[in-house]
């Protein structure tokens, strides 16, 4: 952290400005006040105590008053944190409402395009088809974004319900590989899957774990820009199931690695390739894996590829 950043952190007024609440509702400011009261009252107690030591009642009274003041300040700090949490929750709720509202026009849009493209209501020319394809792809992108946003807002308002059932992870993975095969072939990517034999089932929410595997597999294929390979491993490690997906893609630049699980973060080198994506997939993946009691992580080298892994507890 540079000196300038430290000063910026110390500037309470700008810090509080960011929250959009008044100074008396801002935790940083209230802590400062509390600090001032503590120091001031300690000095005052010393000064008064050394002069009127023969009257302990006064000292006791001062201590009582100071405690009361501190109590009030602490109460407002708690309240201010509540307000901030509330503001955050309202923001997530807003995102959820907006996303829901976006879905209806989006469905109309997607289905109307599908109807047009099917040629059922009149033949379309080759050149028109190109543009219909653009419309279709982009409406699908919008659909993905909206559904990612909904998942994120559910995670943030702690409303992502988990319905655990026993699953064979290798079956889920095999299904996805089949589903992604055309995309992989089109991208010149070979997928290899090596599960250990006799793997135990895990207790997970199938729809959520599918979201994780889908995201990781999609990323692995998407960010391979030359003919390449994706290798998936699944094995038992003590009381955990270990999943690993290794690609020969563009990799994540070192400076970007610490941000990779952040919401909306997209690495600088993939932005260069203009690859589509919402920057929400890994954020969602981490939230889900952690909720299921596992760990997620990665190793990556720019230009060489990335390896993402997660663990899940067995029972």
């Amino acid at each position: 952290m540079s000196l300038k950043e430290i000063f910026a952190q110390l500037n309470i007024f700008t810090q509080c400005g960011k929250y959009g609440v008044s100074l008396w509702q801002c935790p940083q400011f209230l802590f400062l006040i509390m600090g001032v009261v503590i120091i001031g009252s300690t000095l005052a107690a010393y000064a008064i105590g050394s002069r009127y030591i023969e009257e302990p009642q006064i000292v006791a009274l001062i201590v009582l008053v100071v405690t009361a003041v501190l109590f009030m300040v602490a109460a407002s700090i708690t309240r201010s944190f509540e307000r901030l949490a509330e503001a955050n929750r309202m923001k997530s709720e807003f995102v959820s409402v907006v996303s829901h509202q976006l879905r209806s026009p989006l469905s109309n849009f997607r289905w109307a395009i599908e109807l047009l493209m099917s040629g059922r209501i009149g033949q379309i020319e080759e050149k028109q088809l190109e543009y219909f394809k653009i419309l279709k792809e982009n409406s699908n992108r919008m659909k993905e974004l909206v559904s990612d946003l909904l998942t994120v807002s559910r995670i943030e308002t702690a409303e992502l319900p988990t319905k655990k059932e026993e699953c064979h992870l290798e079956d889920i993975i095999k299904d996805f590989i089949k589903e992604f095969q055309p995309f992989a072939t089109a991208s010149n990517v070979e997928i290899a899957f090596k599960p250990q034999l006799n793997l135990p089932k895990v207790l997970v929410d199938a729809s959520q774990i599918k979201l994780v595997i889908e995201n990781l597999l999609d990323n692995a294929i998407r960010y391979i820009k030359e003919p390449g390979k994706v290798e998936i491993r699944l094995e038992r490690q003590n009381e955990q199931l270990y999943f690993e997906i290794k690609d020969t893609g563009v990799g994540i630049p070192k400076d970007d690695q610490k941000y990779i699980f952040q919401k909306f973060f997209r690495s600088e080198n993939i932005m260069r390739h203009q690859t589509q994506g919402t920057g929400l997939g890994l954020y969602i993946a981490r939230a889900i894996i952690e909720k299921l009691g596992g760990k997620i992580g990665f190793k990556s080298q720019e230009g060489k590829g990335s390896t993402f892994y997660f663990t899940l507890p067995i029972k």
Binding site: L106, S107, L115, S118
Partner: protein, 123 residues
């Protein structure tokens, strides 16, 4: 006799799109833009299938479904719910009320919705 489908959905754009598809597939579509009209048409027209949205003006889709299944005149008609709601509770509630299938709009293409409809019609 072409089979009849009652589409209870407040989005007129969807009524239009599906109307076109149904016409081409040889079905007759009756549309209702709110729950009240939907219930009335279900009783008078006795369609072969009902395609039902959940968020509807006047009477919402859950109540429409409940009333359809309570009425001896309409309880045998298969109901496909086509909605944007995707909460587990909503799905369970709707299936519990007796809907044949629950389709989330965002997850299906027109062709796939059509397949589900044909299946529900026993084709």
């Amino acid at each position: 006799m072409p089979k009849t489908i009652l589409f209870i959905e407040d989005e007129s754009a969807l009524q239009k799109t599906f109307g076109e598809i149904f016409k081409q597939e040889g079905y007759e579509m009756t549309s209702a833009l709110d729950g009240e009209v939907g219930l009335r048409l279900a009783k008078t027209k006795k369609p072969d299938l009902i395609l039902l949205d959940l968020i509807l003006p006047k009477i919402n889709g859950f109540d429409v479904l409940k009333q359809l299944k309570e009425d001896p005149d309409t309880k045998e008609i298969p109901v496909i719910v086509l909605t944007n709601l995707e909460g587990m509770q909503d799905i369970e509630k709707v299936i519990g009320l007796g809907a044949t299938t629950y389709l989330i709009k965002a997850n299906y293409s027109l062709v796939e919705v059509m397949e589900k409809i044909k299946k529900a019609l026993g084709e």
